[in-house]
């Protein structure tokens, strides 16, 4: 059978699914993609907040992407352009002394030259270490205990990537990999505000405190991506976050992918022998397919669409034990004017503003998380995308988008009751950072992890489709023994962030999965 007459059905239209679809269609398969929402893009999309105001759905910065994928899918040709790139990070604190991070340099908040040097050294060390991850992210992880030459080569290249970093970097890797960002930062840097600001990058989207082990991995992970060749750079696409995924959509469509929106999938259809026959949509329609690729999270894929009865119990057990505790909410504000943040120049408001005044602040917020509570001192990442993109709000008006960490999925009082309380608390905290902002609010909403779960169908509202921790990493992602985008069901593959190398907007899981499928199914 040639690829031409083999049908692939892809579940979900997030960026990984789109990337996978594009590569598979380019390889000659017949690819059709089914998305439950009215548009593709999943969490990287633009949505209407209230009449006349639009905000990024969940992801609000293009950060951890993969230039190779951009080039090979020709995303520029398909309309990807940046409204702003190389964004600085401005870390505010209650005293109004902001720190300004611009790639490897830092200024502000009475920072000394020595401290600037410390930052540079830390940053360069971490970039180097994340280079190891970056390389290992480019292929499927090896299968341990396999005698196949492909797996041996991958295992060797993993070892070689580590070894070729050089003796010093290898030592640093072994020293830092399993510990926490708190201890590592204390080793490099003295400035409390600076340490808090850096540590936040390890925690955003994750359920960690700075002192939680694993937080070095998450820090290195977010550093792996690049944008136009600049590692760890931030950008806002022209036309909102949707335009990124729309460019992917166009790339996929031009490769021949047929995209069906408003087509939620009810189940993956198996015959009596548990072989794939296609999909059954919520509408009752049966879609025939030889291969099914799921871009939704592994838990939903297997527990909802395949069903535990069709899997061996140890597999069900492992899948149900993937840690997927969402911890991050999105705050969206429609504003009647531009707010003033303490210590931030008005011309800098278009940059990335963060609230992480110290590591202690972050740790205390995490303490609440551990016990199902929500602190009234929350870490945030704030952007005002309407500064760069006038289409998002009426003239003179603005929208604010903030990632609010440490708002646990499992809140003691439940989200129905807590949502207004946490929203009010967030607004009060914003008022502290930007006095007068409350008076500008036209509309406000808080998307809790529970809301994100419902809206985007991700178990636990966990951005990465499974927490990014040492035990759910590389050949252990999503579960040990099944980390090559495959599954116990023949011709059922995973291409989402739940698989190696995980979350962000890289699209690497999608591309690696496509490569695996091409080599296995041709």
């Amino acid at each position: 059978m040639t690829r031409k007459n083999r049908n692939i059905a892809i579940i979900g239209g997030g960026h990984n699914s789109l990337v996978s679809a594009a590569y598979l269609a380019k390889a000659g398969f017949n690819v059709e993609l089914y998305e439950s929402r009215s548009e593709v893009g999943g969490m990287a999309s633009t949505k209407e907040l209230v009449d006349g105001y639009k905000v990024p759905g969940v992801a609000h910065l293009l950060h951890q992407t993969d230039t190779k994928i951009h080039k090979s899918l020709n995303l520029n040709k398909h309309g990807l352009a940046f409204a702003a790139s190389g964004l600085k990070t401005i870390s505010i604190n209650p005293n109004g002394n902001a720190l300004i991070f611009d790639d490897d340099t830092v200024t502000g908040d009475d920072i000394t030259m020595k401290e600037q040097e410390e930052y540079k050294e830390f940053r360069q060390t971490m970039k180097k270490l994340s280079g190891f991850f970056k390389k290992s992210y480019q292929t499927a992880p090896p299968r341990l205990g396999s005698n196949e030459s492909k797996d041996m080569t991958r295992l060797m290249s993993l070892g070689w990537n580590l070894r070729s970093m050089g003796k010093d970097a290898m030592r640093q890797m072994l020293k830092y990999i399993a510990v926490n960002i708190h201890d590592v930062l204390n080793e490099f840097i003295d400035h409390e505000h600076m340490k808090g600001s850096i540590a936040l990058d390890a925690l955003l989207g994750n359920r960690l405190g700075p002192r939680t082990n694993n937080s070095v991995i998450t820090f290195l992970h977010q550093l792996t991506g690049d944008l136009n060749g600049v590692q760890g750079s931030y950008a806002i696409p022209e036309g909102g976050m949707s335009s990124y995924t729309q460019a992917l959509q166009k790339a996929a469509e031009s490769a021949g992918v047929k995209i069906h929106t408003n087509s939620p999938v009810k189940q993956i259809d198996l015959n009596e022998e548990n072989k794939i026959t296609g999909l059954i949509l919520e509408s009752g329609e049966k879609v025939n397919a030889d291969i099914v690729v799921s871009g939704i999270d592994p838990r939903s894929t297997f527990m909802c669409l395949v069903g535990p009865k069709n899997l061996e119990s140890h597999y069900v057990h492992k899948i149900s034990n993937i840690r997927m505790r969402g911890n991050t909410s999105k705050l969206h504000l429609a504003l009647s004017g531009l707010p003033k943040f303490k210590g931030v120049e008005q011309e800098d408001l278009g940059h990335r503003i963060i609230n992480a005044p110290s590591m202690k602040y972050l740790e205390l917020a995490h303490d609440h998380t551990k016990y199902g509570e929500c602190s009234d001192q929350l870490p945030m990442e704030i952007i005002i995308p309407s500064i760069h993109d006038k289409t998002l709000a009426p003239k003179g008006h603005h929208v604010l988008s903030a990632v609010v960490n440490n708002t646990a999925y499992e809140l003691k009082d439940g989200w129905d009751q807590s949502n207004p309380v946490v929203l009010e608390s967030c607004l009060n905290q914003l008022e502290e950072m930007a006095p007068g902002i409350k008076g500008l609010i036209v509309h406000a909403e808080l998307l809790s992890p529970k809301d994100i779960e419902e809206e985007y169908g991700i178990t636990g509202g966990q951005w990465h489709h499974g927490e990014l921790t040492f035990d759910q990493f590389l050949m252990l992602r999503p579960i040990p023994g099944k980390a090559q985008y495959n599954s116990p069901i023949e011709s059922l593959y995973l291409c989402g962030a739940g698989s190696h190398p995980g979350g962000g907007l890289m699209g690497l899981a999608g591309r690696n999965a496509a490569n695996e499928i091409i080599s296995k199914e041709s």
Partner: protein, 396 residues
């Protein structure tokens, strides 16, 4: 419900204890899970012969018993066990094994399809945890009923006559592995034509309250049929002749194994007939398919060994003195009149080419002696009387 008063006593007494302790004139007891049961009552060989020639009764209440009920019970057992459970209709019993994810046998046992949507699993090791873990997504209820149900094995050529004499009408029409529900003095008694002896025999499961009156009826009516109790030592002899394996003896319980390679797959225990790879899914299937492709590491065989010295635990060698396996169970079989054993063979043993030589140690007046005896592989059962299979069962 499992008993919760374990802290009051080091072992439990079974509901038959009042009677078994009277008859246990040797006062030899063994611990079996939480219970104590007789090892020998009066003489192992005579107890053995009561099973072979008349009827022997064994208290096997300590056998772990789990009840699976609910609308998905049939689907659940079919996914849990390696064989096709759809073939075990209501009112039937099936011998089963089940595997871990590596396709290694966790335990063996019997499944009683008691009623529509109700199965009982009787086995050696507690499985409540495995069963619960396996129940995700199934509408089933899992309960351990070990302490609620008293069980007797009634084994031997006259066993059917005794049950019939008590008043269990139509018991002779039970085919091997059939179950029948009876009313006994207002209590439900489940009688199945099953057992460990490889002979005609029955097992009776009942509520604890019915235990003593059932025992009394059995021994009263059984007197003229030569009924005798038998203990665990005699049980071990009859089960070896019958060709039945014991976990923890003939194979390592996969979950208890410490050393890699010490566990066995069903194929490596000669139990391929219990594995239905055509089922779309069951626990261990993926690994067992892989084993089929790759080949198994061990071969399980029945041996007939020269001489009359039981080869318990013997090392096995080939003609060039290379170790090729171990004996897992052995005895001199009075019924087969042969020196029999089970053995697990491995490389470099080659089927049909290599000899099998057992290194047997035995004691004479305290002094250990050794013999090297050649063994041949037996494919037929050691002991398989016609009356085991005949329905209606023989009545005397």
């Amino acid at each position: 419900m499992l008993r919760q008063d374990h802290y009051k006593t080091s072992v439990y007494k079974t509901p038959f204890h009042e009677r078994t302790s009277e008859l246990n004139i040797l006062n030899e007891w063994s611990r079996w899970k939480d219970y104590t049961v007789p090892t020998n009552y009066f003489r192992t060989d005579l107890e053995y012969f009561s099973v072979r020639n008349t009827t022997g009764v064994i208290d096997y209440t300590p056998m772990v018993k789990q009840k699976i009920t609910g609308p998905d019970a049939a689907e659940f057992v079919n996914r849990f066990f390696t064989r096709d459970m759809n073939k075990i209709a209501v009112g039937r019993v099936g011998y089963v094994v089940w595997c871990d994810e590596a396709g290694q046998v966790i335990d063996d046992g019997t499944v009683f399809h008691i009623r529509e949507n109700e199965y009982w699993l009787l086995c050696v090791e507690r499985q409540i945890d495995n069963l619960e873990n396996s129940a995700i997504g199934f509408d089933v209820k899992i309960e351990e009923i070990t302490d609620d149900i008293a069980c007797l094995g009634i084994q031997g050529p006259t066993s059917c006559s005794i049950l019939k004499a008590i008043g269990f009408e139509g018991v002779e029409h039970l085919k091997p592995f059939d179950i029948k529900h009876y009313d006994f003095q207002g209590h439900e008694i489940i009688i199945s034509r099953t057992g460990f002896s490889g002979d005609l025999g029955y097992e009776a499961c009942m509520a604890n309250d019915a235990a003593l009156s059932f025992w009394d009826a059995l021994f009263e009516k059984g007197k003229i049929y030569g009924i005798q109790p038998f203990g665990l030592d005699a049980l071990d002899l009859v089960r070896i002749e019958a060709g039945l394996l014991v976990p923890g003896h003939d194979f390592m319980v996969a979950e208890d194994a410490i050393r890699p390679g010490s566990t066995r797959s069903p194929f490596e225990l000669g139990l391929s007939w219990l594995v239905d790879l055509s089922k779309p899914v069951f626990n261990g299937r993926e690994a067992l398919i892989e084993e089929k492709k790759r080949g198994s590491r061990y071969t399980f065989v029945k041996l007939n060994i020269n001489g009359n010295k039981p080869a318990e635990g013997a090392y096995l060698y080939n003609q060039s003195g290379k170790k090729i396996g171990n004996v897992t169970s052995a005895m001199f079989s009075p019924s087969a009149k042969a020196n029999i054993a089970y053995a697990s063979l491995h490389d470099p043993w080659k089927k049909g080419k290599d000899k099998i030589i057992a290194e047997i140690y035995y004691q004479k007046d305290l002094e250990w002696n050794k013999v090297m005896e050649e063994a041949t592989i037996v494919t037929k059962p050691f002991f398989d009387p016609e009356r085991r299979k005949v329905t209606p069962a023989e009545l005397y």
